[in-house]
């Protein structure tokens, strides 16, 4: 079956929850060299909280695309939209789905692009952020 007809398109990922702990936000800011947040979590948490809070690990996500995480998925692109600040300490709901799985062929051989979107929602259900990621999955054994 061609990945262009992937049944994963629209596949809903198990939802989960996450809270950006202020201390952990502080550690992230220390890593990046960022200024203090004054109650607001660093915007990069739109990516991190989604990855950690969704109810599936990166390995399990890759497995859905029949890819072994040990074969080295690559983060190809990220798109983040923020409706407002992410509050440090705020309870967040995390949801998402696979957007598509597309087969490509390049100079280095065949690979798949696994596109998925995750959203953070606040207690009132409002979308705080959207994060759409593209993983590059090299299909070395098939090239």
């Amino acid at each position: 079956m061609s990945p262009a007809e992937s049944p994963l398109r629209g596949h809903e990922l198990p939802a989960g929850g996450f809270r950006v702990e202020p201390a952990e936000d502080g550690r992230l800011r220390e890593v990046l060299g960022s200024p203090a947040g004054a109650g607001e979590a660093h915007p990069l948490w739109a990516y991190i909280a989604a990855q950690r809070g969704i109810g599936v690990s990166v390995a399990e996500l890759c497995a859905l695309a029949e890819f072994d995480v040990a074969d080295g998925p690559l983060l190809g692109s990220v798109e983040i939209e923020l409706a407002g600040p992410i509050g440090a300490g705020e309870e967040l709901w995390v949801e998402g789905e696979i957007v598509d799985l597309v087969r490509k062929e390049g100079r280095s051989g065949r690979f798949d692009l696994l596109v998925f979107e995750e959203r953070l929602r606040d207690r009132e259900g409002r979308v705080v952020s959207r994060c759409r990621n593209t993983f590059v999955l090299p299909r070395r054994e098939e090239s």
Partner: protein, 137 residues
């Protein structure tokens, strides 16, 4: 504060990407990939003899550059294309330019292009971003 189209943003410099900070970020990201922790794993993956910095770190540098360049601004949107690796020990430079500015409700919307480069090396990340600069009181 708002900036006109063509205005330069940054640069924001990271003098040295520390391996200890890469390891801390691996914990924050819950990313078990050993190329971020073990130089031997990076070597086995054909990536040389230094651990690899996570792509989101470079996006974080870009975000910090953008928010420092426009005082009081809020990040509304950012996209990033990851095009090369950053390694432990690298110096990194994030910079950008304002491409368009428009008055919108609540302030000025700035559409920007940015990039993150290894000093003396490859461009690791490039993309666009939208900032909302609040109206002057």
């Amino acid at each position: 504060m708002s900036l006109a189209p063509g205005a330069a943003l940054g640069p924001h410099l990271v003098a040295r990407v520390e391996p200890g900070k890469i390891a801390t970020l691996a914990m924050i990201l819950a990313d078990p990939n050993p190329i971020h922790l073990d130089p031997a794993a990076a070597a086995r993956a054909g990536l040389g003899d230094r651990v690899v910095s996570q792509g989101p770190a470079s996006i974080g540098y870009a975000i910090d550059m953008l928010l420092a360049a426009v005082a009081g601004a809020r990040l509304v949107r950012i996209d990033a294309r990851l095009t090369a690796n950053v390694f432990a020990g690298d110096a990194v430079r994030a910079a950008g330019v304002v491409e368009a500015a428009a008055e919108v409700e609540g302030g000025t919307e700035l559409r920007c292009r940015y990039w993150v480069e290894v000093e003396g090396g490859a461009r690791a990340v490039e993309g666009t971003a939208v900032l909302l600069s609040p109206a002057s009181s």
